[in-house]
Point group: C2
Chain length 213, copies 2
DNA sequence: GCCGTTTGACGTACGGTGTATGCTTACTGC
DNA sequence: GCAGTAAGCATACACCGTACGTCAAACGGC
């Protein structure tokens, strides 16, 4: 069993495997034993590279925020913010365990501070007051996290992995009880999560732009 | 040990105790054994009234949405929606485990459908198209969930239970690295979560109102 | 070449979890 | 008084995170 046959364990390999495992089996199924066996190793061997399960979970959060990528600082702040928000929403939506994981952790990721700083910097450069920039941050961040939440847990929409029949059965069942819901049902079924996300985002961005000093 | 000395266990008593326990010790500390002992009963006795831990957790989600209360159908739709959104945010923020719990469950609560139907009904009555009502729902729901997320996990703000010193230490540490963040730091420290929430909510509501047919 | 030290994987064990199963107690209708 | 039933209890199992001790391989100084 030489190094050429089995590459050495590293923290990076562990986190990558943990992300892949969570993508496939869900975050609640992730255990040290299963993660170890995924890497061809005993559970306790992971502890030589990682502080424990909490360390793995925190690192997965960091992975998520790092996946959002750098903020484009060249273009208009509206375009910059829109692109960053879309990128963030796509990262969260593509890892359905992301919202649950982030909400189960206490501290915020270092990478999230960097993102926040970059976006706030663009607004301040543009002449916005720190107070308004602060308002804007909360409004935009709420929309991103909140929409990711909705997209991940929605049984509706036209994503390829959605159970279309189950959604229609639910709506048919609710129709007599919830008439207003029945009326918007066609739009729920055909919901494009990118377009829907941008609708709300534009409401917020144009509202903020209107308050530019 | 008669009925007068110990009132019988019921599902309602179990859920109430579970909510109280989560409020005090956090949702991750909630276990069947501890919940049983909180009620003066063995863990397995709970199973006579409840389908298992998942049933308890689902019922806690229902409790949350039921706590939001009925939608006021008398006043202007903007006021109606604003009041419901504020009520929802307050419920979530007052149970810090709410976001984590909801995001760990698959299905949506029945009570959440009722809330959605009531609000959508108000918009449709007002003359909004089903399509626009659908847009509005996503935008508003995102803001509520997303802001609850931020409020629960923020170390900043002026709530009475916030660790003010720790927040200032964090900001001082980040100041050299994140200059834009340092500039808005005073507003982070003095952040009023109700005002902040309403700022974003008004952006969305006025944006929707402007599109009224 | 040789030896002390460090590294990393392993195996065992402990206290915790959710819950299936069977037993026993207490109350109800007659 | 007594059968029937509801509900609390005790045991047991599989799984979890991880503290701890062992041991083989790798490495640096001489």
């Amino acid at each position: 069993m030489t190094a050429t046959e089995r590459q050495p364990l590293t923290k990076e390999r562990i986190i990558t495997a943990a992300v892949a495992f969570a993508d496939e089996h869900g975050i609640e199924a992730l255990s040290m034993r299963k993660l170890g066996s995924e890497l061809g190793v005993e559970a306790m061997s992971l502890y030589n590279h990682v502080d424990g399960k909490d360390d793995i979970l925190d690192s997965m959060v960091d992975f998520l925020f790092a996946s959002i990528g750098p903020v484009d600082t060249d273009s208009d702040w509206v375009e910059t913010t829109r692109a960053a928000a879309l990128a963030a929403k796509r990262v969260f939506a593509s890892h359905p365990w992301s919202v649950q994981l982030i909400s189960s952790r206490e501290g915020l990721s270092e990478a999230s501070f960097a993102l926040m700083d970059a976006l706030m910097g663009r607004l301040l450069d543009e002449g916005y007051s720190p107070k308004l920039a602060h308002h804007a941050w909360h409004a935009i961040a709420s929309h991103v996290m909140g929409y990711a939440f909705q997209e991940i847990y929605s049984v509706f929409g036209k994503g390829e992995d959605h159970d279309h029949d189950r959604a229609e059965r639910m709506l048919a069942e609710f129709a007599p009880k919830y008439p207003a819901l029945a009326k918007i049902a066609p739009h729920l079924m055909e919901c494009s999560h990118d377009e829907e996300f941008e609708f709300g985002l534009d409401l917020i961005l144009t509202g903020i732009a209107a308050q530019k000093p």
